[in-house]
């Protein structure tokens, strides 16, 4: 299982420590082009943010902002640059693809498989960029995303250099809003899916493993929930509990788990007959141990793939909810919200609706590319 053989010529650290000063250079010297250029580009991007946004960075340091958002951004910036350099130094020290411990081999095989899929790597890159941009929003956003100024003079401006994506009907900069919106939209996507897969995996594993009555009851619940009009639930819960990001997350999480449960159950059913599970039972292991240690780790691959694809789905659903007026609070700029703001005037101020829509498409595409890549990388049939 040697690593890319082409790199082995550079095995010993021929180049000096200085090579790591330029982040990514050690990788480039080892002909690991994607990693090298990726790191280089990220570093360049962060450096540019540092230089262009220096005033706000100083403000953060001076404690003027004091906002947690600012600190998150600052941490992202420093940790980001730090880790990129760290990676480069590490690469320098270890030589190319230094032998990883055996415990890693599972994941590194998957990782290698994943990096072979170019589109998936592009998707991952796109998501990394998006995440970085999201976290750095306070330094990148040229305007305050929620502040309403002198509306009349500043509203509905076409995209221009001042306002890359124009302004909306209340004169807010769409670009800044889209940047900040990414945070909420992504947070909703990730958290809702986290809830859904936790619940879905637990239920699916229990149903599949225990079978019989447990299975029958749990699966009937799943059937009901899948055939249940989600809209009814959303409207009722949002009305009962009010619009808030947390509510939307919880409701989405709670409505999305049944499909995960079904997938997991199916996997567990076939897993249950696998001989290592039988062996675990013969060895007297308790059910909880078998489920936790032997069943669930082995169904994670499809769950992870499903979860990845699900994140995109959640982002889409959230935007649909906002469209129906059931989304997050109005003062929270999510993509769905921003998009909805421009809806009535779509034919004239097309930019307000179009750009957040494109942001959604960008993100969902990236996530799906990753999901497809993961599917291939984690599929044991494709591995020897």
């Amino acid at each position: 299982m040697s690593d890319e053989t082409g790199a082995s010529e550079y095995r010993s650290g021929r180049e000096g420590w200085w090579a790591a000063l330029l982040p990514g250079l050690p990788y480039l010297l080892r002909r690991r082009w994607i990693a090298g250029f990726g790191i280089l580009a990220m570093a360049a991007f962060l450096a540019a943010v540092l230089v262009l946004g220096r005033e706000r960075v100083f403000a953060t340091l001076a404690g003027g902002g004091g906002d947690i958002d600012d600190w998150v951004a600052f941490a992202t910036l420093t940790l980001g640059l730090g880790s990129l350099w760290g990676l480069s130094f590490a690469a320098l020290r270890s030589g190319p693809g230094g032998d990883r411990s055996a415990a890693w081999s599972q994941w590194s095989t998957a990782a290698r498989e994943f990096t072979k899929n170019r589109l998936a790597v592009v998707g991952l890159g796109a998501l990394v960029v998006l995440t970085a941009v999201t976290l750095l929003a306070p330094y990148l956003a040229p305007y305050d995303p929620v502040h309403i100024g002198d509306v009349v003079g500043t509203r509905n401006l076409r995209p221009s250099l001042d306002h890359l994506m124009g302004t909306d009907k209340l004169g807010r900069d769409v670009f800044s809003r889209v940047l900040y919106g990414a945070r909420i939209s992504l947070a909703i996507g990730f958290t809702a899916i986290a809830i859904a897969i936790t619940l879905g995996t637990a239920v699916g594993a229990a149903a599949g493993y225990f079978g019989g009555v447990v299975d029958a009851i749990l699966m009937r619940i799943v059937d009901v929930l899948i055939a249940f009009p989600r809209l009814v639930l959303l409207i009722v819960v949002v009305s009962l509990l009010g619009h808030s990001v947390n509510i939307v997350i919880i409701v989405l999480g709670l409505t999305l788990w049944p499909s995960t449960a079904r997938i997991v159950r199916g996997e567990v059913l076939s897993l249950r007959e696998r001989e290592f599970i039988q062996a675990a039972r013969a060895l007297g292991f308790g059910d909880r141990r078998i489920i936790a240690r032997h069943v669930i780790p082995n169904v994670m691959a499809p769950v992870i793939v499903g979860a990845t694809l699900g994140i995109g789905n959640v982002i889409l659903i959230e935007s649909g909810l906002s469209f129906l007026g059931l989304g997050v609070p109005i003062d929270v700029p999510t993509w769905g919200r921003i998009l909805d703001d421009g809806r009535a005037a779509l034919l004239s101020t097309w930019w307000v609706t179009t750009f957040p829509g494109l942001a959604i498409v960008y993100t969902v595409v990236a996530i799906n590319l990753i999901g497809d890549g993961l599917r291939d990388a984690l599929d044991p049939r494709l591995r020897m």
């Binding site: 890319e4 053989t5 082409g6 072979k116």
Partner: protein, 337 residues
């Protein structure tokens, strides 16, 4: 002896996976004469199936037949034919049956349709003729009431019957060569006996040549006229069946024969071939069998022997230095690990 129908020379079929090249079949030469059955034996992963598939031209990226290989059917060089031309030969002049009858039959078509298909393609028969031929073939392979069974789906048949249907399909166009890749491995012993019986019988009646692949030396010894033993992508020994099993020349064949538990006598402890079957990822250097060979000496580590001999060939330095046929390791044969 008349010229062989099928000649394989220096067949090398490699698998290109990223930067790796797996030399799964690495210089196999075989020849098959009319009416003859050539047995190929070898353990899992030694390249038996790939050899067969290469002959059929059924390999696909990332598996490739390397230049310099030659597969000749009568006088035609198969490895140079276009896909279109190959298609007219497959199932027509040369047919193949596979190990798993269950997965090798298309589950959504009736066996009749599947048997009739090569007839329709190669003989341009109409539906009625093809069906009649299918029934005829089913009868030939020993189906009870073939008129009815022609309309069954594969899952409605037992494993033995499925394999019979596969055979019927392969023989529908009366090919000159039949390649049977472990046709009985997935079957029970009693059924296996039936199928072998059937194949031997059909071969006699139809006069075709057959390559019979198996990892079971017993089975091969029953049906084959000549046997080629494969190890690590190469033929290591080839010869007449009786001769080979009575007097194996290659240490691998010898080891194989000795380590089989026997029905007719009981030994306290089985002699073993130490170590594991190597993987094509990294064949051992020198003689590929040397790490497991009881006789191996320096020469075996450094240089690869060639397949030598007249009627009975062997790929071993012992052919040149027969005096070394003395176990070199203490306690051999019989050591465990």
């Amino acid at each position: 002896m008349s010229p062989p129908i099928l000649t394989v020379e220096q067949l090398r079929t490699y698998i290109h996976r990223g930067e790796q090249t797996l030399r799964a079949v690495d210089g196999v030469s075989l020849s098959l004469h009319a009416g003859e059955t050539l047995g190929i034996v070898g353990e899992s992963g030694c390249g038996k199936s790939l050899t067969c598939l290469s002959i059929m031209g059924l390999i696909e990226e990332p598996v490739r037949i390397e230049p310099g290989s030659s597969i000749r059917l009568h006088d035609r060089e198969l490895s140079e034919l276009s896909l279109r031309e190959l298609e007219t030969i497959r199932g027509n002049e040369i047919s193949m049956i596979f190990q798993e009858p269950m997965t090798s039959l298309n589950p959504v078509w009736t066996v009749g349709d599947q048997i009739a298909e090569p007839v329709r393609i190669h003989r341009r028969a109409d539906a009625g003729e093809a069906r009649a031929r299918a029934i005829e073939m089913l009868e030939l392979v020993g189906f009870p009431n073939p008129e009815e069974r022609v309309d069954s789906y594969p899952h409605e048949l037992s494993g033995g019957m499925q394999q019979r249907a596969m055979i019927a399909m392969a023989l529908a166009c009366e090919p000159a060569v039949l390649i049977a890749d472990e046709p009985t491995t997935a079957l029970d012993v009693t059924i296996q006996a039936e199928i072998i019986d059937l194949l031997a019988d059909l071969q006699r009646r139809l006069g075709m040549a057959m390559i019979f692949v198996s990892h079971d030396l017993g089975v091969v010894s029953q049906i084959a006229d000549r046997v080629a033993v494969m190890y690590a992508g190469q033929v290591v020994e080839e010869g007449d069946v009786g001769d080979m099993f009575r007097r194996p020349r290659h240490p691998y064949t010898e080891g194989l024969l000795r380590c089989l538990p026997r029905l007719d006598r009981k030994v306290a402890r089985l002699p073993v071939i130490p170590g594991d079957v190597p993987s094509p990822r990294d064949w051992p250097g020198g003689c590929r069998f040397h790490p497991r060979c009881a006789y191996a000496w320096e020469r075996c580590l450094s240089a690869a022997p060639a397949l030598t001999g007249e009627e009975h060939l062997s790929r071993c330095w012992l052919e040149e230095e027969p005096e070394r046929r003395v176990p070199s390791r203490a306690g051999e044969p019989g050591a465990d690990s």
